[in-house]
């Protein structure tokens, strides 16, 4: 508390925490573009040069940015665009059109969106007039009228590029690439995709018109780099209002990152995946545990967050089941063991369950057939079991063939953690034979 009295730039802890939350959340949720692209400088330079040539020289280009999910494709593009827009020559010249394969699911919508974003003259307000074919002709006409030196270059960004390749005849892609290969309005087509085989999706004519430039974003990140990134992601910037708080925060982050257990956890995460998104997810969980009463991140927070990240979804669901449902799952597990994964039906499961009851000769699990049926249906609703594809609804429900959607390890793990699990049930689950 004495710190608060030092310096003019200090703030109450509560306000500091709010600030921290805000800054870091923006960072983790990718709302803010990082100042410099980490680890992809070469690609950044390549893309920037390419787009600059389109914007400045009016040279048409097409390029694909390929990389697994969370590799930073969009981040790279955003960085490049930000840097590009800082140039005066580009600022007023470049028109941008952003499309997303998940939003513009067919060419018709995509065309309307392009016309809207270019605000061509058949756009009134937010509505685009004309039929699909009229729009296409109109757009092509518009692009055809331009030439290299006089019209404003247009940047087309196609997110989820692979989905555009599934449009009928690939009309949009053909036309965009065709424009980029002919003396019309200069355009740059930038496609973002995570599919490495994206070129194989293109029709031969479309493929021929594509320039075959691909920028691969495949991170060859090492663990020390990963650690460093975690630390920078969590650190507060220098221009944080309260300097003291920032210093304390940063040093505590540093300490956390050097902690042995934290490193182990992070190593595990690193082994699992290198992408930015899972890392941000973990850090977000850590951050959400920070409060006024606990103004720093502790190693325990990281461990807890990691535990949440790694916890098995299906095993968690098993915790909420009733004893009867759990027993049925165990019976299914045994059936799977006996018949080597062949599908089963309710009657078989019931028989298996009855065998267990006979052996135990206790009446506490004596359930009526309808009750068991109900439990079975509940399991199906939870998608812990699912009907075999071929068996239709025609067969009676008791005899419908089912498959268990759980792995043995998940069942055993759930049993370990199940609150007040009866010992005989546990033993039954562990025993090799039903």
């Amino acid at each position: 508390m004495s710190k608060r009295k030092v310096g003019a730039a200090h703030m109450p802890v509560g306000e500091c925490i709010t600030q921290v939350q805000e800054i870091l959340r923006q960072r983790f949720c990718r709302q803010r573009v990082p100042d410099r692209p980490g680890g992809v400088e070469a690609q950044h330079k390549h893309l920037l040069g390419l787009l600059k040539r389109t914007a400045v020289h009016g040279e048409s280009n097409s390029v694909l940015i390929v990389g697994p999910r969370g590799a930073g494709k969009t981040m790279l593009l955003k960085c490049v665009l930000r840097d590009l827009m800082e140039e005066k020559e580009v600022q007023k010249n470049l028109l941008q059109v952003h499309l997303n394969g998940l939003l513009q699911t067919d060419d018709r919508i995509a065309l309307k969106e392009i016309t809207r974003q270019l605000s061509l003259e058949n756009v009134v307000g937010d509505k685009v007039f004309g039929s699909f074919s009229e729009n296409l002709v109109f757009l092509l006409e518009a692009l055809k009228k331009g030439d290299r030196s006089s019209s404003r270059p247009v940047l087309f960004v196609l997110d989820e590029f692979d989905l555009f390749a599934h449009h009928k005849n690939q009309t949009l892609l053909y036309n965009l690439f065709d424009v980029s290969q002919s003396a019309q309005t200069p355009i740059a087509v930038v496609g973002l995709t995570c599919r490495l085989d994206v070129l194989e999706l293109l029709e031969k004519r479309v493929k021929s018109r594509f320039s075959h430039r691909q920028i691969h974003l495949l991170s060859s990140l090492t663990f020390p780099q990963y650690l460093e990134r975690v630390q920078t992601q969590l650190s507060l910037p220098d221009d944080f209002p309260d300097e003291n708080f920032a210093q304390n925060w940063n040093s505590s982050i540093k300490a956390v990152c050097e902690d042995k257990s934290v490193r182990d956890v992070l190593q595990r995460h690193f082994n699992s995946s290198k992408d930015h998104r899972t890392m941000n997810m973990l850090l977000m969980l850590c951050l959400s545990r920070v409060s006024v009463s606990k103004p720093t991140i502790k190693p325990a927070d990281v461990l807890e967050a990691s535990r949440m990240c790694f916890s098995d979804a299906k095993a968690n669901m098993l915790h909420g089941l009733s004893i009867l449902e759990l027993c049925l799952i165990i019976a299914m597990k045994h059936l799977n063991d006996i018949y080597e994964g062949e599908p089963f039906n309710l009657q078989m499961v019931h028989n298996e369950f009855k065998k267990f009851l006979h052996r135990k000769s206790s009446s506490m699990y004596n359930f009526e057939q309808p009750v068991i049926m109900k439990a079975f249906e509940h399991l199906q609703q939870l998608e812990l079991i699912r009907p075999v594809d071929g068996s239709s609804a025609k067969t009676q429900r008791e005899y419908q063939l089912m498959r268990l959607m759980l792995d043995h390890s998940q069942i055993m793990e759930a049993l370990q953690k199940y609150p007040q699990c009866p010992t005989d049930v546990k033993q039954w689950a562990m025993s090799a034979f039903g």
Binding site: G49, S60, F129, A142, A183, L196, R205, S208, F270, K274
Partner: protein
């Protein structure tokens, strides 16, 4: 823009008088004049040598203008031919050439045609009607609004240049002795009004100073003209008609006297008719007179409209097009409403003085009888009132415009002024009325006349209303109301809200059109043949769903593009696929073949098809374009006849049937629906047209024009076989055997056997292409070029690829320019880098860069595949292996969820192929890469 089919009526053509000469050998006799008579109608049209006529064009709204030089026929009289001297309408001159004129062409301007390649012998059957052509001196201005029905010649046009033409060539020596009349029976009257008032608006815009008096005179002249023809038609007084016709050209006084004489002679007949009141016998002629009145007007207006619409500067916005139309409609609606009112309280409104004067007029001047007569047919004929209202309405609009030119948009056109204007115009209908009559009295007297007509009308209607008629009335009234109401709705924001009310307009027009198409049916049997759709169709283009005049363009940049600064940049621009090379190397043979094929077809004036195939990037389209450039040049220097080149691309349309739309659009500038466009094209290509240029049609990506019935392809290949089509079709596709593979026999057979295949480029050719493109810009090492071309030739022979690689290599070279060892030229190293970037598969790198767990999962997959001996396993099976491998590696085993996430990540990159993820642990896993590649990538670690 507009289109309607006239009902075909049997016309009888007869020679008038004895042949002036007879060629005994050929048995061809020449005549002085020709009489055209429409069956069932009493009047005739006489065509004389030296007269100007309209000849059926490719479509009805584009007739040709010509001067009759010779009329001749064979002995039997079955063949009647006309030798003509052609004139070109503005619309017939290509837009590009129109610039040579150096000024805006006048909408009514025509050019004395001296071009080559024109059949000057036409069948007499195709003559539509006579037309007035005036010669103007080169410097003389066009008569400002001018006579809307006459055309003006200033210049001659020989398909290359415009020259001043001598008046002696144009003007026939004697005044043509014939009564001009539309040789065809009336077209459905509903269709022209839809567009005609619009054209009126256009005219107004086009003319700089719409002087009201001049405008009125123009209207007057037109009316006089039509009246003259009407009366002449009825009386069949040829001499009088002649004088009348010439009178239209001559002074007004002469005309007046002629009219007076004419009217006097006619009066008894008119009286008789009035008394008879049984129009059954006469109705036909009445109808004719009326319809003629209408038709003449409509036709001339149609002409005007067409002139205007086809005149090149299409700057008019939608708002302008729509406005006058609505106005006229409103006016007509107003007029429709007025008779009812007027007929009830007939005598009340006009003050007695005016009444007296008008009565005086009525009594004194026999012309007034003429007026009554002119009005009478409208009543005696069972035409619904609406019909005569339409042209009146137009007059009204015109008169109104003339009197109040400031009321431009007419957004506040009230009923009252419309009515007043109408009355005024009625006066102008009878040009003999003393000009000194004050305007108000004029108006009132006219109203009086009108009301009298209405009394007559109601009387007659009572007598002869038939079921159909009354039904029509019933039908019509509500729609009229709606018209009015909707037009009132639109009054507010007409210009801006034009788009929003589009639907309204369409609905209105539909109604209007359908009401109109019913009208003639009851009237004239022949017109039932008119397809009901036509008016609708005609309407469609004028109610565009998009603002057609919106100019598609990308805004221009604020700063000019930077010019290349160094050799590499220069090279890059030259190597870009888009840059048009000076020549096309390596395709000389193909070029020659296509060139000679198209050239011969153009010279012969025949048609033909050619199929060009080749893998992408082998220069098919580029070669055809080059051929067209050369041919165009040849046509420009007059080596070959001029031709039309249009291009469509199967990939650039959303539906195969759009091909018709695009062809039509590029050929004529018309917009139409696919079906309609197909019909129009069919008509165009199957009917003979004397002044047709050859058309070369390039169909790129032919395979995409495939439809189940293949009718698009069938038509494309069938048109060239038509005798008069003069169509050369060049088709391009990728596969060599496309005709055999996807075309049914009748289509493939029409495509013919003229085929050409573009082979992929060899490495030498590719090298030559790059060298020729670079054109002495020294940017590449020789070896580097060879490497690129050999590599590409081995892979695909795609020139685009080759150029792209070279371009990328220059970039790499530029980036590494800081390296001191660099020579500034693109070397082998750079090219290798570029090749690697473009051709190497990323899978191996992707696997190398994958996370530890992902790599283990891949190993588990391979292990499981080996164990099963299959190339497929479920996730569950692989996961067991994965756990085992984790233990071997000393890693903490992962949970199933995490394993699934790892699996999904690999699946998203398509290293693995997965079933839908809802299957969970049961989903099957396959590798998308060869096992060897995976092993190799994992070992390299």
């Amino acid at each position: 823009m507009k289109y309607f089919t006239r009902p075909k009526i049997r016309r009888v053509l007869q020679w008038r008088g004895e042949p002036i000469s007879l060629n005994r050998r050929t048995k061809i006799s020449e005549y002085e004049s020709l009489v055209i008579r429409v069956e069932g109608l009493p009047r005739t049209t006489v065509i004389n040598v030296g007269q100007h006529i309209l000849i059926e064009g490719e479509d009805e709204e584009n007739p040709y203008v010509a001067k009759v030089l010779r009329l001749f026929g064979d002995e039997s009289g079955t063949q009647k031919k006309v030798t003509v001297q052609w004139y070109s309408m503005v619309s017939e001159v290509p837009l590009s050439k129109l610039k040579l004129l150096g000024r805006e062409p006048h909408p009514q301007e025509i050019f004395y045609y001296q071009g080559p390649n024109c059949d000057d012998e036409v069948s007499a059957e195709s003559i539509l009607r006579p037309v007035k052509v005036k010669h103007l001196d080169g410097s003389a201005p066009f008569p400002d609004p001018g006579d809307p029905d006459s055309l003006y010649v200033k210049l001659s046009w020989d398909s290359k240049t415009f020259k001043v033409v001598d008046s002696a060539l144009v003007n026939p020596d004697p005044a043509p002795a014939s009564c001009p009349k539309p040789s065809l029976p009336p077209s459905p009257p509903c269709s022209p009004p839809a567009a005609a008032p619009a054209s009126r608006g256009l005219a107004r815009r086009a003319l700089p100073t719409p002087d009201p008096s001049v405008m009125r005179r123009a209207a007057l002249g037109e009316v006089r003209y039509s009246r003259a023809s009407a009366s002449a038609g009825k009386a069949c007084y040829a001499a009088e008609a002649e004088s009348l016709h010439s009178a239209t050209k001559l002074s007004a006084s002469k005309c007046l006297s002629a009219k007076r004489r004419n009217a006097m002679e006619r009066t008894p007949g008119v009286r008789k008719k009035l008394e008879l009141c049984s129009p059954e016998k006469k109705s036909m002629s009445h109808t004719d007179v009326l319809s003629q009145l209408l038709d003449e007007d409509l036709e001339s207006e149609g002409m005007l409209a067409q002139h205007l619409s086809s005149s090149p500067p299409r700057t008019l916005s939608l708002g302008h097009r729509l406005t006058p139309l609505k106005k006229s409609r409103r006016a007509s609606a107003a007029q429709d409403a007025s008779p009812l009112k007027e007929s009830t309280g007939m005598d009340s409104p006009p003050p007695s003085a005016a009444e007296d004067s008008s009565r005086e007029l009525l009594d004194k001047s026999p012309q007034q009888g003429g007026l009554v007569e002119a009005g009478l047919p409208t009543s005696s004929v069972k035409t619904p009132r609406r019909r005569n209202a339409t042209p009146r309405g137009k007059y009204a609009t015109r008169g109104q415009k003339a009197s109040t030119p400031s009321r431009q948009k007419g957004s506040k056109v009230l009923k009252e002024p419309a009515l007043g204007a109408l009355a005024e115009v009625d006066h102008e209908d009878s040009p003999m009325l003393p000009v000194t009559t004050p305007r108000s009295s004029k108006r009132k007297s006219a109203r009086l006349v009108l009301s009298r007509i209405k009394v007559q009308l109601s009387l007659l209607e009572n007598q002869q209303d038939r079921d159909s008629d009354s039904e029509e009335e019933d039908d019509f009234v509500p729609s009229k109301k709606e018209l009015q109401s909707s037009s009132e709705e639109e009054e507010e924001g007409e210009e801006e809200a034009g788009l929003d009310s589009d639907e309204d307009v369409v609905v209105k027009k539909r109604r209007h059109a359908s009401a109109g198409s019913r009208t003639p049916r009851s009237k004239q049997k022949t017109s039932t043949r008119t397809p009901r759709k036509t008016p609708n169709r005609k309407v469609t283009p004028s109610t565009p769903r998009t603002p057609h005049r919106a100019t598609p363009s990308i805004p221009s940049r604020s700063r000019p593009a930077r010019q290349p600064a160094n050799v590499l940049e220069e090279a890059r621009i030259r190597l870009h696929v888009s840059s048009v090379p000076e020549s096309l190397p390596c395709r000389e043979q193909e070029f020659q073949d296509i060139y000679s094929f198209v050239e011969s077809k153009i010279i012969d004036g025949t048609g033909g098809c050619m199929y060009i195939s080749g893998v992408p990037g082998t220069g098919k389209t580029a070669t055809v374009h080059e051929v067209m450039r050369c041919l165009q040049h040849a046509a420009d220097v007059d080596e070959i006849p001029p031709f039309h080149f249009i291009e469509i691309n199967g990939m650039k349309m959303t539906d195969p049937h759009q091909a018709y739309v695009q062809i039509l659009q590029k050929l004529t500038g018309q917009k139409a629906t696919a079906d309609h466009a197909a019909a129009l094209l069919e008509k165009r290509f199957s009917n003979p047209a004397p002044k047709r240029e050859s058309t070369v049609l390039l169909v790129d990506e032919l395979d995409l024009l495939w439809t189940r019935k293949q009718n698009v392809m069938y038509n494309l290949f069938d048109w060239p076989t038509r005798r008069h089509a003069r169509l050369v079709v060049l088709t391009i596709a990728n596969t060599m055997d496309l005709p055999e593979r996807i075309m049914i026999n009748r289509v493939a057979s029409r495509l013919g056997l003229t085929r050409m295949s573009f082979q992929p480029y060899s490495f030498k050719q590719l090298q030559q292409i790059i060298t020729s493109r670079l054109n002495k810009v020294k940017a590449f090492e020789e070896d580097a070029l060879q490497l690129v071309s050999r590599k590409v030739a081995a892979l695909s022979g795609d020139a685009r690829r080759c150029l792209d690689i070279c371009r990328r290599a220059t970039e790499i070279c530029e980036h590494s320019a800081s390296d001191p060892s660099a020579t500034g030229l693109v070397g082998m190293g750079h090219v290798m880098d570029a090749l690697n970037e473009m051709f190497s598969s990323a899978y191996i790198t992707a696997i190398k860069c994958a996370s530890v767990q992902e790599q283990i999962f891949l190993r588990a997959v391979i292990a499981e595949f080996r164990r099963l001996g299959l190339e497929e396993a479920t996730f569950q099976q692989v996961f067991v292996q994965h756990q085992a491998l984790c233990r071997v590696e000393g890693l903490q085993p992962i949970s199933v969820s995490e394993g699934l996430a790892v699996c999904q990540r690999l699946g998203a990159c398509r290293v693995l192929l997965l079933e839908p993820s809802r299957l969970g642990v049961l989903q099957r896993v396959r590798l998308n890469v060869s096992q060897d590649d995976v092993v190799f990538a994992l070992k390299a670690d």
